[in-house]
């Protein structure tokens, strides 16, 4: 029995259900802070155990290997700072009388269940129950995106739920096909749905069934990861959702969908070799990069700007995983750094929205002197997201370019050209927003809001800076095990 793993998942469930029944704001705030602390500690403990023992399991139901622990760290840390931020952000909305206490408690209940569903999904041993948990996170996210009930929010929520439902249904078909081929080897039982068993027998599975299954899983979970051309829900949902939710969508949910694709890829690579899944993933990744770096150019809404930047970064990480070998190392590293940086960027963007009540990019200037917390958040995360040192995204992008050059030189040129385009636009916009003289005055934010959001931004920036230039040895152990899961990669003989 491994209690940190159980605590990691049950903490948000309990805090969420309790928030629904408590009718005092102070109690809900304390509950949420306790949840954030518990998640942070539990994620660190789970990662620590996995680094020491290789894996942690609870019966045959939950099992965390290196890849799960990696996602536990990402979702745990960013989920914790997101919870702190939500306490500040939603509290401020409540003070300005947008929200009743009832809706306030509903928000936190949904928010916590959403985090819990994602944390459950990455630790499940059963491939089909993982699907159920991911669908659970989709449904709770749908209610969170439309939470404001404005026309735009409802439209974004509707688009999201329709597209994601289709995607997730296709992913279920992929899951059924994996079961279809594995039950011939493992027998008609739950054993045939366990990841560890699937990896063990993968070489004996039927290649054509696994190929079809992978295509369905890639399209299905790819829709949820915002991979082009199934990305159309993403900018709307990120722009219209309440900002704490936007941050969680971008940092956690897209990462979770990539995780699901990776699990299927690990099985497929063992059955038919890395070329098949690698080629498909590289194609979709380059398309995502092309679409996002073009649309970043024309954005006039700062939340949409960061949303398209998410499509770009998920594309970069997928390119790494598609190349394999060193690319897997860089892709996983990219996912963690992107989650920290992008949530920080949204934290800043949310504060700007609270103060000015509009999302127009060209009306925002001089944030650094007007709103130090939001300004610092957007400046630091913007530099990181553009891919400049001293941050981890620089390291991973260089490594992915190097890996791509070794395996597939022609992709490298496309990759670097698209990267340069996104780099220039993002950096220009971020510098223009943060430096210079402030424009409109807006309404100043309350003290409580500044404390909670400041804490969230502070933790994220410290984490981002600490892992910036070198990979801590514990994390390196995890990354090495993740690379081993995927074998040699493209261009290297099996």
């Amino acid at each position: 029995m491994s209690w940190p793993l159980v605590l990691l998942i049950t903490a948000p469930v309990m805090a969420g259900i309790a928030s629904l029944f408590v009718r005092q704001r102070r109690v809900i705030e304390v509950l949420q802070c306790a949840q954030a602390g518990a998640m942070l500690a539990a994620a660190a403990l789970v990662a620590d155990r996995v680094i020491a023992d290789g894996e942690v399991s609870v019966g045959s139901f939950l099992r965390a290997d290196a890849l799960s622990a990696w996602l536990d760290l990402i979702i745990g840390v960013v989920g914790a700072t997101g919870t702190l931020y939500a306490v500040g952000y939603v509290g401020e909305e409540m003070n300005s009388a947008h929200l009743s206490l009832k809706r306030y408690s509903h928000f936190f209940c949904l928010f916590d269940l959403y985090l819990a569903a994602m944390l459950l999904a990455v630790n499940l041993e059963n491939i089909a129950i993982m699907w159920i948990a991911i669908e659970g996170s989709t449904l709770s996210a749908a209610l969170l995106i439309g939470f404001d009930r404005s026309k735009a929010a409802l439209e974004a929520g509707w688009k999201y739920i329709i597209l994601s439902s289709v995607g997730i249904a296709l992913a279920l078909f992929g899951t059924i096909l994996v079961y279809y081929s594995s039950e011939h080897v493992l027998g008609v039982s739950s054993e045939a749905l366990r990841w560890s068993q699937l990896y063990r027998v993968a070489e004996g599975l039927d290649p054509s069934a696994i190929k079809v299954a992978f295509i369905f899983a890639l399209i299905g979970y790819g829709t949820k990861a915002g991979v082009a051309p199934m990305h159309t829900w993403l900018p709307d949902a990120h722009a219209e959702a309440p900002t704490p939710v936007s941050a969680m969508l971008s940092a956690n949910m897209l990462t979770l969908a990539v995780y699901a694709i990776l699990r299927f890829k690990a099985v497929t690579d063992r059955t038919v070799g890395p070329e098949f899944s690698g080629n498909l993933i590289i194609g979709l990744a380059l398309l995502s990069l092309a679409v996002s770096s073009t649309f970043i150019l024309v954005q006039r809404d700062y939340k949409r700007l960061f949303a398209y930047s998410s499509i770009e970064h998920i594309g970069i990480a997928l390119l790494g995983f598609g190349i394999g070998g060193l690319g897997v190392f860089a892709g996983a590293w990219h996912l963690m750094n992107h989650a920290l940086a992008k949530s920080t960027a949204f934290f800043g963007a949310g504060l700007v929205f609270l103060r000015h009540n509009h999302k127009q990019l060209d009306r925002v200037t001089g944030l650094l002197s007007q709103m130090p917390i939001a300004g610092t958040a957007i400046l630091v995360s913007g530099i990181a997201l553009a891919g400049m040192p001293p941050f981890g995204l620089f390291t991973s992008e260089v490594l992915i370019a190097a890996g791509a050059y070794r395996a597939r030189p022609e992709t490298t040129y496309v990759f670097l050209a698209l990267l340069a385009l996104a780099f220039a636009t993002l950096l220009y916009q971020v510098l223009r927003m943060t430096l210079g003289a402030p424009g409109e005055a807006g309404t100043a934010l309350g003290r409580q809001c500044r404390i909670f959001t400041g804490a969230a931004v502070g933790i994220n920036i410290v984490a981002l800076g600490t892992i910036g230039l070198h990979v801590p040895s514990g994390l390196e152990t995890l990354l090495t095990s993740i690379v081993k899961m995927f074998g040699g990669g493209m261009g290297v003989s099996r």
């Binding site: 409802l154 059924i176 081929s181 079809v212 219209e240 024309v298």
Partner: protein, 222 residues
């Protein structure tokens, strides 16, 4: 000892799957929303009968539970919710569609061929009794997907989604004699909650836009 000769059993399962596919075409051809809901309920009954037949022929008892749940949730509860939505929103007919009915039926015919093309290499892998249903299951999933694209009213898009789910359930039954029970229960729960949430959304859309015509959702564009 099986009660029926294997080839008769397999023919009956094929017949059940074919009836499911037929109701898909009927849904694509039908303009009245309440009739679409009825057709979906009928399809769910066919699905439950097919699943019960597989359970009877194979002696795997947990498929009976899944079949019973299909009747309760997909043939009774969800159609009732959808009828209430239709009544409250006062939308009776789908007057304009993105694709007209004859073209839609032709496209669906092409989708069936595509589905059999995709599943052809993997069909020989399956159990003799049900393996031909796998192609039909994928065809139903694709037609459900097409319905979501071709129709404009929120309610018909929901029906498209539910038809996809029916196809998936048939696929799981055909390919693998059903998923393990806990998985089936989880999927049912998700479908029910999903249908409820989509129902809530269409109410809110009606309040905000005075319409459930999703082509009016045009605020968010590049």
């Amino acid at each position: 000892m099986p009660l029926l000769a294997p080839h008769i059993g397999s023919q009956m399962v094929d017949l059940g799957s074919a009836l499911l596919l037929l109701t898909c075409f009927a849904i694509v051809a039908q303009r009245r929303l309440s009739a679409c809901v009825d057709l979906f309920a009928l399809q769910s009954v066919f699905l439950a009968l097919t699943a019960a037949l597989v359970a009877f022929l194979t002696g795997i008892h947990h498929i009976y539970i899944a079949a019973a749940l299909t009747v309760v949730i997909k043939a009774v509860v969800i159609p009732r919710i959808l009828k209430q939505v239709i009544e409250r929103l006062n939308v009776k007919r789908e007057l304009e569609m993105n694709v007209n009915v004859p073209t839609g039926l032709l496209i669906c015919g092409a989708l069936v061929i595509l589905a059999f093309f995709i599943t052809q290499p993997i069909i020989p892998l399956g159990f003799l009794l049900t393996r031909d249903s796998l192609g039909i299951a994928l065809a139903i999933v694709l037609i459900g997907f097409f319905t979501m694209i071709a129709r404009k009213k929120a309610v018909t898009q929901v029906i498209g989604f539910l038809v996809m789910e029916n196809g998936l359930f048939l696929g799981a039954t055909a390919a693998a004699y059903g998923m393990p029970l806990i998985v089936e229960l989880g999927i049912f729960f998700d479908v029910l909650v999903g249908a409820l949430i989509i129902g809530i959304y269409s109410h809110r859309l009606q309040d905000a836009f005075d319409s459930v015509d999703t082509t009016k959702l045009t605020t968010l564009k590049e």
